[in-house]
């Protein structure tokens, strides 16, 4: 049984085909990078997996079940977690409260809407997620007052606290300093011990360091797929990137 499969996944906006017939197979535990030029349809593609965007046609199978019709919040409960490309933390809430929202969700799975999870359990889970990304000491700070790099980490902590099986990271290193990127790569490797990771990334050093396999998209379609070395050597890929 494959972990995640997309079958001929297609999405058009009006007359524009953003994603055309993409087939993808993801193995459990792998780190998969999706690369491609701007406008290649990467974000639209992962948005269909997370449920933010409905596909025009095609199917998505997760752990053997067809989840194409599932709403995004139900997919989160199954373990598909998306972190936003544009940092999307709750700016007026503290770091603690940001992560507590995720923790509350994962501890109340299948319970009534007013279920109150044990505060000690919440505290422990929030602390654990914040300490994994190194933000534990900033727990009480307002998310909007964090530096950009820290906001990205908070975003990841919110994702982690949902106990993802599949964590989708949409351009996570964009705007980070070199040191922050190095720390981030270490973090992603740690996370991948417990979750499968789907990564959209422009920074090729990050892609080469982290990914087991790479999927290349261009003009909404799948261009190539293979190990990092294979992709580096692929002529089509070079052409798409360099425009020659």
């Amino acid at each position: 049984m494959t972990f995640l499969t997309t079958q001929a996944l297609t999405r058009s906006f009006g007359g524009i085909q953003a994603v055309t017939g993409v087939d993808l197979d993801l193995r459990q535990g792998e780190i998969r990078a999706i690369i491609g030029p701007n406008g290649a349809g990467k974000t639209t593609f992962v948005s269909m997996i997370s449920g933010r965007v409905e596909p025009s046609s095609g199917a998505i199978l997760f752990e053997g079940e067809d989840i194409t019709a599932l709403r995004p919040w139900d997919r989160v409960l199954r373990g598909i977690v998306y972190t936003f490309q544009i940092t999307s933390v709750f700016r007026n809430l503290s770091c603690f409260d940001n992560v507590a929202l995720s923790v509350q969700r994962s501890l109340s799975k299948g319970r009534a809407i007013w279920h109150r999870p044990d505060p000690i359990e919440v505290q422990a889970a929030v602390d654990s997620a914040l300490s994994r990304v190194g933000l534990l000491t900033r727990s009480a700070e307002l998310a909007g007052e964090l530096s950009y790099g820290h906001q990205r980490l908070l975003e990841v902590a919110m994702g982690l606290a949902l106990q993802p099986k599949l964590l989708i990271l949409d351009e996570p290193t964009q705007g980070l300093s070199e040191q922050e990127i190095a720390d981030f790569c270490r973090l992603v490797k740690e996370i991948s011990a417990g979750a499968t990771i789907l990564l959209i990334e422009h920074n090729m050093d990050v892609v080469m360091e982290l990914s087991h396999r790479i999927t290349v998209m261009n003009n909404g379609a799948l261009l190539a797929e293979g190990s990092p070395d294979e992709i580096m050597a692929n002529l089509d890929v070079q052409r798409a990137y360099l425009g020659t």
Partner: protein, 318 residues
């Protein structure tokens, strides 16, 4: 914990002051405060939706009026026990809120404002259309006899100012406790998250529609409970309670007192009430005075009074 204790002192203090005021206030203001506590309950109901969920409704008069008419007609036509009439009025508002929510919550932002405004106008026109039953603008007046009842061996007369004051205080206390409980509950946390960033909240696994419907239902319930109490306390219901001004008042009260604070609505209601009272004594064009004061308050207290106090000094105010 410190913040919790402060919040307890603030809210308990408010209730104690309101309780003590009945022995100090002259008759006229005594009645005003009864009215203010009922209207503040309405404002708190409104605040659940606009302040904590971020949905601006321009049609809450329909929920307030559902309570007024539900309870008022229950007593007038069915000669219901006032307690039953109160429950009937409250439930009428709750059911209306659920029904409206299922339709209006498909929209957000400006569209939500327009849809709620339209529904409220329709409700207002309904009260005029069924003139035979509602007596339209003229309204229905409840007799003193119909507003008295026995409960657990205690005779209650809703025309008695003292009993009325304390029942209004009880209603206000109930609403205050409900709001405090909601704000501190997991549901309250999600409502604030929806207000701040609905898209992100969905991607954290929350079905935002269910939470918004819950917020609208609670908001409608408090509004109609206030309406039901109003008609029983003051013995009159007419179409004007369903008209646009009664959708705008709670918005002004909440904005003035502080959006998204538990005590804001009561501060706003109190201020607005006396602002109108006092300026009306001096000039017939009192709305100009009210308007100028509101503009000044917005300039100096952009987040409302309690909201500004929270932002500048007391961050612990819930």
């Amino acid at each position: 914990m410190i913040a919790n204790q402060r919040s307890l002192i603030l809210h308990a203090g408010l209730i104690v002051i309101l309780f003590a005021l009945q022995f100090l206030l002259p008759d006229y203001h005594h009645t005003n405060f009864t009215s203010i506590m009922v209207l503040a309950t309405y404002a708190m109901g409104y605040n659940i939706l606009v302040g904590y969920t971020g949905l601006l409704s321009l049609g809450h008069a329909m929920f307030f009026a559902a309570g007024l008419y539900g309870a008022g007609m229950g007593v007038y036509y069915l000669e219901l026990h006032p307690v039953l009439a109160f429950i009937l009025g409250s439930v009428a508002g709750l059911l209306l809120a659920i029904a409206i929510g299922l339709i209006a919550l498909r929209t957000t932002g400006v569209a939500f404002m327009i849809v709620t405004l339209m529904f409220a106008q329709a409700a207002f026109l309904v009260t005029l259309y069924f003139n035979d039953i509602t007596h339209g603008d003229e309204g229905l007046t409840l007799t003193q006899a119909a507003r008295g009842f026995d409960l657990l061996g205690w005779h209650v007369d809703l025309t008695n100012p003292s009993q009325r004051y304390n029942l209004a205080l009880a209603l206000f206390l109930g609403a205050l406790l409900l709001c405090l409980a909601l704000v501190r509950s997991p549901v309250g946390r999600v409502l604030v998250a929806i207000r701040e960033n609905e898209e992100r909240t969905k991607m954290l696994g929350y079905d935002a529609r269910r939470y918004k419907l819950l917020a609208l239902s609670l908001s409608g319930l408090l509004s109609s409970a206030a309406g039901a109490a109003y008609v029983l306390f003051f013995g009159y219901v007419g179409s004007s309670f369903a008209a646009i001004p009664y959708s705008i008042y709670p918005l002004l009260w909440v904005l003035l007192g502080g959006v998204g604070t538990v005590v804001g609505p009561v501060i706003g209601t109190l201020l607005m009430f006396y602002l109108i009272e006092i300026s009306r004594d001096h000039t017939s064009s009192y709305m100009i005075v009210v308007g100028v004061v509101l503009v000044l308050l917005v300039l100096w207290f952009p987040k409302g009074i309690a909201g500004t106090i929270r932002a500048r000094w007391w961050g612990w105010i819930p």
